[in-house]
């Protein structure tokens, strides 16, 4: 399967009369987009705002971040099973508005979390401070229950991203990049001497605000399975996960999965990137056993020499991570795992909730409990009064001068467990 991504580099985003992309600038007709979003009868209102790199803006609470993409050639459309039909995606051509994103905010529950600072010390920890963001503040109709509210917000994000993506359909990209995965047998013939490597992608799947979807299927209902990396680039996996801001994988992370990108970079040179095994992180311990049995079995079935395993979320996924690692190592396949740490504010506590001697190659996204001071910024998009009660916040987090003292875990994407960032710890 072969996909060409066409990057259209975005340097600014503005509101305008007509929605279009011109000379690297996205113009958005607010009213037109608004009418599309409000087709959902569960939403009462939607407002739009812009947040650009370097601006004194704080966005919070962040639900999801989504990159605008559009299918130009090949079967299916972006976000199959959610917005588009369940056609198999991942081949042909897809255009990307690189440097832009849709950010959804809104309080589904009272302790919603996630901060993106566009400037200052907080901006260094979130990749989304470098993007030109269209921020959506959606309000549900009165009395809407949390599950429906979450769904409405999730879809509003996809729709807005697809709307922006559509603007890029007929634009010639500034740059293109091609990704190809051969069938197992073809791959073996093409790179007989290179080590064969797969990627085990763990998805958060634990209930309301903790879910991930694959082609529209709630991933807690899947058994570990195989997917082409390029399918993920077309939005086959989307996030419905709204908790643990620092180490949840937003839809943006899935679309731009860094492990996939960096494995492709070495593909055909130092390794043969065979494909992606997706697996879940369920609450039921027997599910964890079954899913990790399957991911290790699939790794064995593919005949790989090594895998990289990435994680999502806090606490019990440590158990899935260690099970995956242990069982895959037991099959004689080398592993590297990517995680993050909760080592306490002083860094002295045991970092993970589970451990095993076979996990001898670990990449860490840093200690999420480390405390950071975020200065007052001129503008807040969303609500800030909640920081006292979110994870990583504490009584007195919000100071009178508008600055906040919080643990890193409040920052969206700060300790990402796909290895999206440079942050680490020793």
């Amino acid at each position: 399967m072969k996909l060409e991504l066409g990057y259209i580099y975005i340097k600014d985003i503005q509101f305008g009369e007509t929605s279009k992309v011109e000379n690297g600038i996205i113009y958005v007709n607010k009213d037109e987009l608004k009418s599309i979003i409000l087709e959902d009868q569960n939403l009462k209102s939607v407002e739009f705002d812009l947040a650009k790199p370097g601006e004194s803006v704080r966005i919070t609470p962040v639900k999801d971040v989504i990159e605008p993409r559009v299918k130009v050639e090949g079967p299916g459309g972006i976000f199959p099973g959610m917005l588009s039909k369940v056609e198999t995606v991942g081949s042909g051509k897809t255009n990307v508005l690189k440097g832009a994103a849709v950010v959804t905010t809104g309080k589904i529950v009272g302790f919603q979390e996630g901060i993106i600072d566009m400037t200052g010390p907080g901006a260094e920890y979130t990749p989304f401070s470098k993007l030109n963001n269209l921020v959506m503040i959606c309000e549900p109709i009165d009395g809407l229950k949390q599950p429906e509210h979450e769904k409405a917000l999730r879809f509003a994000g996809y729709k807005a991203a697809a709307y922006l993506g559509e603007l890029a359909k007929n634009i010639t990209p500034d740059e293109t990049e091609t990704f190809e995965t051969l069938s197992v047998t073809e791959g073996m013939k093409a790179y007989p001497e290179l080590p064969r490597v797969a990627y085990v992608l763990m998805l958060q799947t634990q209930g309301l605000l903790h879910d991930t979807y694959v082609y529209g299927v709630d991933a807690k209902r899947i058994i570990s399975t195989l997917i082409y990396p390029t399918e993920i680039m077309d939005g086959a996996i989307v996030s419905g996960n709204c908790v643990s801001a620092c180490d949840k994988n937003t839809t943006y992370h899935h679309l731009n999965n860094p492990v996939i990108h960096d494995l492709f970079e070495q593909h055909g040179k130092t390794l043969n990137f065979v494909g992606v095994i997706i697996t879940n992180e369920n609450v039921y311990l027997a599910d964890k056993e079954r899913s990790s049995n399957w991911s290790s079995k699939l790794a064995e079935f593919l005949g790989v020499d090594g895998v990289i395993i990435s994680q999502e979320g806090f606490g019990n996924p440590d158990t899935d991570l260690i099970m995956n690692c242990k069982k895959i190592e037991a099959k004689g396949i080398k592993t590297v795992i990517i995680t993050d740490e909760y080592a306490g504010r002083d860094g002295s506590s045991q970092s993970l909730a589970d451990a095993d001697v076979s996990a001898n190659a670990v990449v860490t996204g840093g200690n999420a409990n480390e405390v950071i001071n975020l200065p007052k910024l001129d503008k807040v998009i969303g609500h800030i009064n909640y920081v006292d009660i979110i994870a990583g916040g504490f009584d007195g987090s919000l100071h009178e001068d508008g600055s906040i003292t919080v643990e890193l875990q409040v920052i969206t994407g700060a300790t990402n467990e796909m290895g999206f960032n440079k942050l680490s710890a020793r």
Binding site: E265, L271, G347, A361, V362, V363, T364, G366, G419, L423
Partner: protein
């Protein structure tokens, strides 16, 4: 100007080798031996005002006395910074450096640093107590050691924020510190996997906790015939703690005769352990060391017999190395006396 006092051994002070290792601590004005390289690295920011020279044998054989003497010398100069070593792979020198550097930090509250090779026995003993720079294994690595130790020492003296071990060059000390790597995590993961696949050396970013697991022995064949011993790290001792087992970081264990003892009472036994609320253990030590129950089982014929002695130490903060040494000795005695099984109780 930052005032510095440095500690070095007889060898680096050019007094002599092993034959001079007995010399007691003495103090000299200014820098001596490796102090010159440190002084050059400090430029005008700091000055080594005095150097303490002490023989390795003297320090290690008179630990408490030597420590007190050196501390008094340091105190007299009231420095802003204390440097011990670097000791490279010299074992007794490393232990001396670790001991004194940690003591200066803890007891005098003066910023303190040392350096040695990672396999120096002083490293495992003190790397979590004081900043310890990882050096090469011989004095040929002096230049490299100074290059790492001097900047970190200045930062400590100035009270600046200390970065992660990977950035600053000190040995990982159990405190996790965030920092920005050059490459993103996924790229580091790919690089690590390629090394692992090629059988090359790689360094994990998060070492798993030490698993010193022991496979269980096969089950006792006939428990009704077995001689059972009790061993505890819960600190249960005869009232008055006759062997003076320390309440933490125990340096010894005790062997106590319980022939004819049917029950541990408030009047006869207590705990020496300082790491938990002792009220319930003191009121009835059987709660930690179940002599009463085992006597019942003995009477009922459910076990063969209870071994005549029990062994006790305090697990609170006790070094794994000491615990292993105790266990080896105790195990030997139990084996010699034909004990079939041991019940180990903690707290």
């Amino acid at each position: 100007m930052i005032k510095v006092v440095q500690y070095i051994n007889q060898f680096f002070a050019n007094v002599g080798g092993e034959e001079m290792a007995h010399i007691p601590a003495e103090i000299r004005e200014g820098h001596v031996g490796p102090g010159l390289a440190f002084q050059q690295a400090f430029k005008d920011e700091a000055e080594i005002v005095a150097t303490i020279v002490c023989g390795d044998s003297y320090f290690n054989e008179n630990l408490d006395k030597a420590k007190a003497e050196v501390l008094a010398m340091v105190k007299q100069y009231n420095p802003d910074l204390f440097i011990a070593g670097p000791a490279f792979n010299a074992g007794r020198y490393g232990v001396a450096c670790g001991t004194i550097a940690a003591a200066v930090k803890e007891e005098l509250g003066i910023p303190s640093i040392t350096g040695m090779y990672k396999e120096n026995p002083g490293a495992d003993m003190f790397k979590n107590k004081v900043y310890m720079v990882s050096t090469k294994n011989s004095a040929a690595g002096m230049r490299d050691a100074v290059k790492k130790m001097a900047p970190l020492a200045l930062k400590l003296a100035k009270g600046e924020k200390i970065g992660s071990s990977a950035e600053e060059g000190y040995m990982p000390n159990g405190i996790r510190v965030n920092f920005f790597e050059k490459e993103r995590g996924s790229k580091r993961a790919v690089g690590m996997l390629l090394k692992k696949l090629a059988g090359k050396e790689f360094e994990t970013e998060f070492p798993m906790p030490d698993f010193d697991r022991v496979d269980p022995n096969p089950a006792v064949k006939d428990i009704t015939k077995a001689k059972i011993a009790l061993v505890t790290s819960g600190g249960i001792v005869p009232k008055g703690n006759p062997d003076h087992i320390e309440s933490s970081s125990a340096s010894k264990y005790g062997e106590y005769d319980i022939e004819g003892v049917m029950d541990l009472t408030e009047e006869t036994f207590e705990t020496a352990h300082g790491g938990y609320d002792p009220i319930y253990a003191n009121a009835d030590s059987d709660r930690v060391l179940p002599v009463d129950i085992l006597r019942d089982l003995e009477k009922e014929g459910k076990i063969g017999s209870l071994y005549r002695y029990y062994y006790s130490t305090v697990g609170n903060g006790t070094a794994v190395k000491s615990a292993k040494a105790f266990a080896a000795e105790i195990g030997k005695k139990l084996k010699a006396d034909g004990v079939d099984a041991v019940i180990l109780t903690s707290t």
